[in-house]
Each structure stands twice: as C-alpha cells, then as structure tokens.
Symmetry: C2
Subunit: 151 residues, 2 copies
C-alpha cells in the first residue's frame, strides 16, 4: 500500500496529472497509527534526554516533530469505516471515540496545545521548563488513551 | 509494543524515574516505517492541494511535518539487527543500504535539503514555487527508494 501511495504521488508529481483519490479506511488507520508511533518515538527521545545526557538539538527536533504531527490533521484519519480492523490494519480505538465527538475535540485540542507549547519551550532551550512541559504533554497523550483506546 | 513504550514514557514522565532503554530492532523498524508513512501521507495532502483545490494551511502544515520528520534522525533507526524482518515488523530495505553508507548519506542529505526547502517555500506561500519544490522533494524520495528499497 505504501508503494502504491508513493508511486502515485511521485508519478503524478512528475507528470502533473490525476487528482489524488480519497484515502481508504485501511490507509487512514495505517497513517494515523504511524502518526502516533512517530510521536511516541520522539517523546521517547525527549525522555531519554531528560533522564540521561541532555541533547538539546535532539530534544528540539523531537519536540518540533511531535508538534508538527499534532497539527497535521490526524483527526481526518478517523473517517467512516475506520472504527474497526480493516484488512491488515488493526485498531485499538474504542467505539466511544465515534460517539463522543465533543470529548474527542476537547482532548485533541488540549493535546495540541501542550505539544505546541512543548515545541516552543524546547526551542527556547530551558531544560527545566522542557521537562515540566514534557510531563504535561505526556499527560495529555494519556488522557486520550485512557478514554478512547483499548488496552 | 506501542502501549509498552507509551506506558513507560508516561509513567516515567510523571514519576521522573528510570532511563529509557535503547530501542530494540523491532521497535526501530516500526518507528522508521511509521516515519516514512507519515511523510507519505503528508506528501499526499500536498499533492491533493496541487491537483485539486488549494489549501494553503494544509500544505504548510504538511510540509512542516515532512521536514520535521526528515530532520528527526530516522537514520538512527537502521541499527544492527534491522536489516531483516524482526517479529511482526517486515522491512523492504535492501542489504546494500547497510553496505553503502556513503551513498545512503548522500541520498539522505539530498532528501533533507529538499524537504526543508519545501517547508520554507510552503511557509512563504507561493503555489507555483511549492509545486516545483514538491516535485523535487518527491524525486529525492524516489532516488532513495529506487536504490535501497525492494519492490
């Protein structure tokens, strides 16, 4: 599927033809899971810096990545047909996610706020402030997982 | 695995204890594939804007995400033991990737340059310049896929 997407992308980028098709449910699940994985990887790098030897450049790049993904519209990847396993793509999203959209929005906006603040604080470079904001960001992740993700 | 990573992250973020363990080969493959998937998703959004109705905000956010991931150290996720399928994680990387590190570096730096230029051009907002730079970025993706990725 990745190959298909990229082949279409590159072929059309070069040839300048054909509008992109809407994403299938399986692709939506794949991409949203990838987004959360990349954020988890980058949160892990920040954590490693906090617990081990401080790497300011890595922390800044990781925080920028988390914020960029948070801002990139993951919510659009929870379309119809993505509430359950599709093809090879499993999902741990709870049914409540699709029924409690006000709560979803509240938690998503809270997370985005903290992630963007983490990127801002990381760019400023104060390690104590980064550590504190990392904790807040992690709690915002967890709030949504606790509410809308199966174990 | 995602649950494990996040649970450790959040628990330690709150408790402030225990250094992060190095990533296992399976986790490295998972995270690098996720990184490429998120970039592909965002390249697809830019393509959709180029081919369909122009959404400047979406293009800027997508380009920022591609650049952030390009800058975030994916090269560190090709460690020992990641050259072949591990556990649930399949990989299409060719053996040559691990043998031709100068070429890998050349292609990776070329891609990073184009991705960062795409983010810069997107932030400036000129759609013709964005379209041209999107093409260059896609070609830089493809150059590495052609050389180091199995079909």
């Amino acid at each position: 599927m990745k190959l298909r997407v990229l082949t279409i992308l590159i072929a059309t980028a070069i040839a300048g033809s054909a509008a992109a098709a809407p994403l299938k449910p399986e692709e939506q699940i794949k991409f949203r899971k990838a987004g959360y994985s990349v954020m988890a990887w980058n949160m892990g790098k920040i954590k490693a810096s906090i617990d081990g030897s401080w790497n300011k450049d890595e922390v800044q790049k990781a925080a920028a990545t988390v914020a960029a993904i948070a801002n990139s519209g993951l919510g659009g990847l929870f379309g119809a047909g993505t509430e359950k396993e599709v093809g090879e793509q499993r999902t741990r999203v709870k049914a409540e996610f699709f029924q409690e959209q006000d709560k979803v929005k509240e938690l998503a906006l809270a997370f985005n706020k903290e992630a963007n603040e983490l990127a801002r604080v990381a760019a400023a470079g104060d390690s104590a402030a980064i550590k504190a904001q990392f904790g807040k960001t992690g709690e915002a992740c967890k709030a949504c997982h606790d509410k809308f993700r199966k174990d």
